[in-house]
């Protein structure tokens, strides 16, 4: 049984060991003959039985003989029988069993519907994308052959009927998670028994419908440990039986079956055409080979720059709210719905005092030029843009060019009460120098005709926690945000059919400016390094935002704006007991 909790390093920051065939093979050899461990008693439902599973297409024919509740023999496609250990668990009329194949790096997970004899076979093997520790899978639909009876016509099928659900799960191992199934191809999970830093992560997933009440779910922790999880969900009983296969962060081998008890978190909206229940919305990549599927690997694809490279790139090109014309101009498609900047700050002089942070003096020359100085230092002239999406609430942003970490301030000022919140982006963070870091600053503004805030401050909020909101940036560029923990923003991408597909996540922070007006960010850590800051108006269902990004093309600060729709709410407040503020 794996040791919990894991080391105090976030999942996306852990340098997972590149395991080779010999290391993986040695670990598998130790358990292939005995089968998976289990905290709950294994089922003996299969003991003494012999079954033959036939799968469709190029799938295997598997002839099993279960000699005990943890021993079996298997003949694949009529080949020589091998002996292996296995473990089985039963949930209502469904039997889940799993085993490895001794001498190989692969095994099977099988779910049999004992009423219909329909079966789903999941072949699992170590041999991932570039890292052998990542478990690959291929799913075969099939059935258990019955002597003298025709094969059932129906199959378990990929479906979007599970999309939008969410569960809290507690395994019999004590492992607790929040599992959000907001996509048809990905899922988002929060390890409540992990570091306790309340960050959620994402992995490619499969959703196979057995019937309206039962589903098979899989998740592979790609970009992380590569661990594979498969479980059967009993929606009405809120129970699960499953298996877990992989190497954890300490390279300890995990192979176990589990039972779990769940709590319903809710159902959010789906956006496919009414009547469309199809799954598998993402087309398989061409020529990808066995088990290939579309997987988002942001750490692999992002620019990774040193501090010196960042300095050179920033010196070469800084673009602040520049016209969007081609590479390096910022996210061109993300401001199609943007409102024009305003000159409401032009001609004003004011000071922003951040609690425990800098004192920023401003002299604003025009609608796009201001002078700033930090802590009484030298004045600098810079380009800025400002918007007033709600009367009296101004959002503006600018770079602090002379700062060693190339800071950018994205600021929301409430002119009616003098409160200010700043998401202070900066570069030269410890992992990748071009990846943005961010600190949240609360403060006050002093200026003519602006009320004194006194001790009043904006405050962090959990009013967005568990919410899902769609964002349409441009034709064919829509996403959905899922605020899955008090410190996580997850984003999902719509497919052409309205299904939600790829999903990723990063740190987030959420500040209430006024009723129905929130200032939040998402930080693309280990994923392009962008800091996205948006002021969300829940009455107009429109946001006003600023993106801060550094790549090989330079440093940019650019406008972001999208139209919003409510997509629903997961009931997760009870899992995050900290108070607001």
């Amino acid at each position: 049984m794996p040791a919990k909790p894991d080391p105090q390093v976030p999942m996306h920051r852990y340098a997972f060991t590149k395991l080779d065939d010999n290391q993986i093979g040695a670990a598998l050899a130790r358990v292939a003959a005995t089968g998976p461990v289990s905290a709950s008693p294994l089922s003996d439902a299969l003991k003494g039985k012999s079954i033959r599973i036939v799968t469709d297409g190029d799938g295997p024919a598997l002839a099993y003989r279960f000699t005990a509740n943890n021993r079996l023999t298997l003949s694949e496609n009529g080949g020589k029988a091998i002996e292996a250990g296995y473990g089985a668990l039963v949930q209502d009329h469904l039997t889940l069993f799993t085993h490895l194949i001794p001498g190989t790096l692969r095994g099977y997970g099988v779910v049999i519907d004992n009423k219909s004899n329909i079966a789903t076979v999941v072949e699992m093997w170590f041999g991932g994308y570039k890292d052998k520790r990542e478990v690959m899978r291929v799913i075969y639909a099939g059935y258990v052959e019955q002597a003298g009876k025709p094969a059932p016509a129906a199959r378990h099928v990929a479906s979007n009927r599970f999309e939008g659900k969410g569960f809290y799960w507690k395994q019999d191992t004590g492992y607790e998670t929040l599992d959000y199934y907001a996509s048809v191809a990905y899922s988002h999970f929060v390890e409540l028994t992990g570091r306790g830093d309340e960050l959620g992560f994402c992995g490619p997933s499969d959703y196979i419908q057995i019937n309206d009440d039962f589903y098979i779910y899989t998740r592979t922790e790609c970009e992380f440990s590569g661990t594979f999880t498969l479980y059967v969900v009993d929606l009405n009983r809120q129970e699960q039986v499953g298996l877990r296969l992989g190497f954890d962060r300490t390279d300890a081998f995990e192979y176990y079956v589990f039972r779990g008890k769940g709590e319903w978190l809710g159902q959010i909206a789906q956006f496919e055409k009414l009547g469309d229940t199809s799954g598998g919305a993402l087309p398989d990549p061409e020529g990808g080979g066995k088990g290939a599927r579309r997987i988002y690997r942001p750490l692999t694809t992002m620019d990774k720059m040193t501090k010196a490279e960042v300095a050179a790139a920033v010196a070469k090109n800084r673009r602040v709210f520049a016209p969007r014309v081609g590479a390096g101009s910022g996210a061109a498609g993300m401001a199609t719905h943007a409102a024009p900047p305003v000159d409401v700050l032009a001609g004003k002089t004011f000071t922003i005092r951040y609690d425990g942070g800098p004192v920023m003096d401003y002299r604003v020359e025009s609608a796009d030029t201001l002078n700033w100085r930090k802590d009484g230092g030298a004045w600098s002239k810079t380009r800025y843009n400002a918007w007033e999406p709600v009367p009296g609430v101004v959002m503006f942003g600018h770079l602090l060019e002379s700062e060693p970490d190339h800071d950018g301030h994205s600021i929301v000022v409430d002119m009616n009460n003098g409160c200010v919140t700043c998401f202070n982006g900066f570069l030269n963070t410890p992992y990748y120098a071009n990846e943005a870091g961010v600190r949240t600053l609360f403060g006050v503004i002093d200026g003519a005709n602006i009320p004194k805030a006194g001790t009043l401050r904006h405050a962090r909020t959990r009013e967005l926690l568990g919410r899902a909101i769609t964002w349409n940036y441009a034709p064919n560029l829509s996403s959905m945000h899922l605020y899955s923990t008090p410190t996580t923003t997850s984003w999902l991408i719509f497919t052409d059919s309205g299904s939600l597909g790829m999903q990723w996540s990063g740190p987030g922070d959420f500040v209430k400016i006024r009723d129905d007006l929130y200032f939040l960010y998402w930080l693309e850590e280990a994923c392009n390094g962008t800091l996205g800051t948006i002021l969300v108006n829940m009455r107009t269902m429109h946001d006003t935002g600023i993106g801060y990004h550094c790549g090989k093309e330079g440093l940019s600060m650019s406008q972001v704006a999208a139209h919003a729709r409510h997509a629903g709410l997961f009931d997760v407040q009870r899992f995050f007991p900290k108070k607001e503020g």
């Binding site: 191809a185 087309p283 064919n476 984003w491 991408i493 693309e524």
Partner: protein, 170 residues
């Protein structure tokens, strides 16, 4: 700058009308009837060949076949569509408005076809969202507009080929 192709098309259409009239006046009645039938038959055969050529072109465009060899007079002429065009279909009810005009020499022709032009463009991978959309097999914007396809044809030997294709606003 002048439009040479337009000038050429107008010139040969005018020429065809001029050439047709004297032929009709000079022939004896019986000979004229026989020749007229032959001319009409040839005209019908040419029109049918051009329509088949047009349909073949539509099929290859919609199948995204790179090889248009054999349909055009040369490789340069075959590069007639913007790379964003991914489909060309006859517009609903367009058949009645489609026209093929043969030149009097029977060696050139012009076709006009009302079509729906489908264009496709991949979004630039300039944001995380766009990169993810592309990675999942999406990120493609499609648009459909009505256009008049104007095609010039030439006949070499007994075979028709496309000399030029232009898309014009309706």
């Amino acid at each position: 700058m002048t439009d040479n192709r337009e000038s050429t098309r107008r010139t040969f259409l005018k020429g065809s009308a001029v050439l047709a009239a004297p032929l009709a006046m000079a022939m004896p009645v019986a000979a004229m009837a026989a020749d007229d039938r032959a001319v009409r038959l040839q005209r019908l055969e040419d029109e049918a060949a051009i329509r088949a050529l047009h349909q073949d072109w539509l099929r290859r465009v919609n199948a995204r076949e790179a090889d248009m060899a054999g349909l055009f007079v040369n490789a340069s002429a075959a590069r007639c569509l913007d790379s964003a065009v991914c489909g060309v279909a006859s517009a609903p009810g367009a058949a009645q408005g489609d026209r093929i005009e043969l030149a009097a020499d029977g060696k050139r022709a012009t076709g006009r076809f009302l079509c729906l032009i489908e264009t496709e463009s991949r979004m630039a991978p300039d944001s995380t969202l766009a990169q993810m959309a592309l990675a999942q097999g999406g990120g493609v914007s499609r648009d459909q507009t009505s256009r008049r396809v104007r095609a010039d044809y030439v006949k070499t030997g007994d075979r028709w080929a496309i000399a030029a294709i232009e898309l014009a606003e309706v």
